[in-house]
């Protein structure tokens, strides 16, 4: 694996579900390597890792690993394609998928996204992103039933240089796990 430039950010996620007496919280780190590789490492509670590597998605935790080959599912393929469009910053395609409202006071910015059509609109009501400059500080995802997930980002490095070994550690499969 060659070195590459991407994004590293710590996150704290709070899920507020109407059925639960208190929010669920998770913390960890997100690693994104353009154009289509992503690791979401949760370090609390427990330890788990979601790895998206092109067509392949796998999830690892204390119970082992589950893998999904997206080539087996046109629907899943379509969904991941839409992710890649977002990652690549294809604004035209973004506007095909979402109604987007952007505002900025010069220092901070806010982006509101609403899915235009199914299946996204059955799963998500809106995203609200806010930040300053190239940094995202907060994202709120609201589901159609009103449940919401708020993710706060910190220590974001949008120009992080991944070394070859680090990439191998992040995306390589451990045969022992």
């Amino acid at each position: 694996m060659r070195s590459a430039t991407g994004v590293v950010a710590r996150f704290t996620e709070t899920k507020e579900l109407a059925l639960l007496s208190a929010p669920l919280e998770a913390t960890g780190t997100i690693y994104f390597v353009p154009p289509d590789r992503l690791v979401r490492l949760v370090t609390s509670p427990g330890r788990s890792r979601l790895v998206v590597d092109g067509d392949k998605v796998r999830f690892e935790d204390d119970n082992g690993r589950k893998a999904l080959d997206l080539s087996a599912s046109p629907m899943a393929r379509q969904m991941v394609d839409s992710f890649v469009v977002l990652f690549s910053g294809d604004e035209a395609r973004l506007h095909q998928l979402y109604e987007a409202e952007f505002s900025s006071d010069g220092k901070t910015w806010h982006l509101h996204l609403s899915p235009r059509s199914a299946p996204l609109d059955r799963l998500i009501a809106s995203f609200d992103l806010s930040g300053s400059g190239a940094h995202i500080d907060r994202m709120e995802a609201v589901e159609p039933d009103g449940d919401r997930t708020v993710t706060r980002f910190g220590e974001t490095d949008a120009q992080y240089r991944f070394g070859a070994k680090e990439l191998a550690d992040l995306f390589g499969e451990d045969p022992a796990s």
Binding site: G89, L120, A134
Partner: protein, 220 residues
């Protein structure tokens, strides 16, 4: 739209889509195509529990043609039980709400959930039934709950193994549920459904206050 901000925003939007909300249901639907049948048998009233409890667990369910990872949270008290299951990728997969004997299940990933939420509820009830091992540090602690006989093998004041059988079971009859409390996980076998489920406790709150040596076995 400022291109830099747009790009940053897009990245995070994508992260949100992948990790917390949309799309994952679709992926999981593919992951979850085989289906385990709903177990009949073991159940107890919520009133047997000693106090409110909340657990965040990760389950790995093994059965013929089924191999599923399922994170979920369960809240119980004497009147109700709420269980919310998530896809391995973090989005809500289903909810189960029990009030008394009434159970309502809602699926967000389509009608064919890979593991019936009622099975998870039964597993949680089985592993969480109060244990009297604190007063029987090394030996057998046998208790009766609403028509079920619960036999705990204790070690150092904690349950190591649990066998749940009908109170009127004949000699030699296979028990309904077996629970093994390992250091790193709790393994539940529902014999009616022929599956093994491995549960890793990620977080629990509030800690129950053991009363008279009786406490939630899954939190020990």
């Amino acid at each position: 739209m400022n291109a830099l901000v747009a790009r940053a925003g897009l990245v995070v939007a994508a992260l949100g889509v992948v990790t917390g909300t949309a799309g994952c249901s679709i992926l999981t639907h593919v992951l979850f195509s085989p289906r385990l049948r709903e177990c009949k048998g073991f159940d107890v009233p919520l009133s047997v529990f000693v106090g409110p409890s909340r657990k965040e667990l990760r389950a790995r369910i093994h059965a013929r043609n089924v191999d599923v990872d399922l994170p979920f949270v369960v809240e119980t008290n004497a009147d109700s039980l709420v269980l919310v299951g998530f896809t391995p990728l973090g989005t809500k997969a289903f909810t189960l709400v029990r009030k008394g004997d009434s159970v309502e299940v809602e699926s967000m990933t389509g009608p064919a959930l890979p593991v019936p939420p009622r099975n998870l509820m039964a597993d949680v009830l089985a592993m969480s039934l109060p244990s009297a091992c604190a007063t029987t540090p090394d030996g057998m602690a046998v208790a009766a709950f609403d028509g079920w006989q619960v036999s705990d093998t204790c070690g150092n004041g904690r349950p190591v193994q649990r066998i749940i059988a009908r109170a009127d079971a004949k000699a030699g009859e296979e028990p309904e549920v077996q629970v093994e409390y390992r250091d790193d996980a709790i393994v539940v076998r529902q014999n009616d459904c022929r599956y093994n489920a491995r549960y890793v406790l990620q977080a629990s709150a509030p800690a129950l206050s053991p009363e008279n040596g009786v406490s939630d076995a899954a939190e020990e």
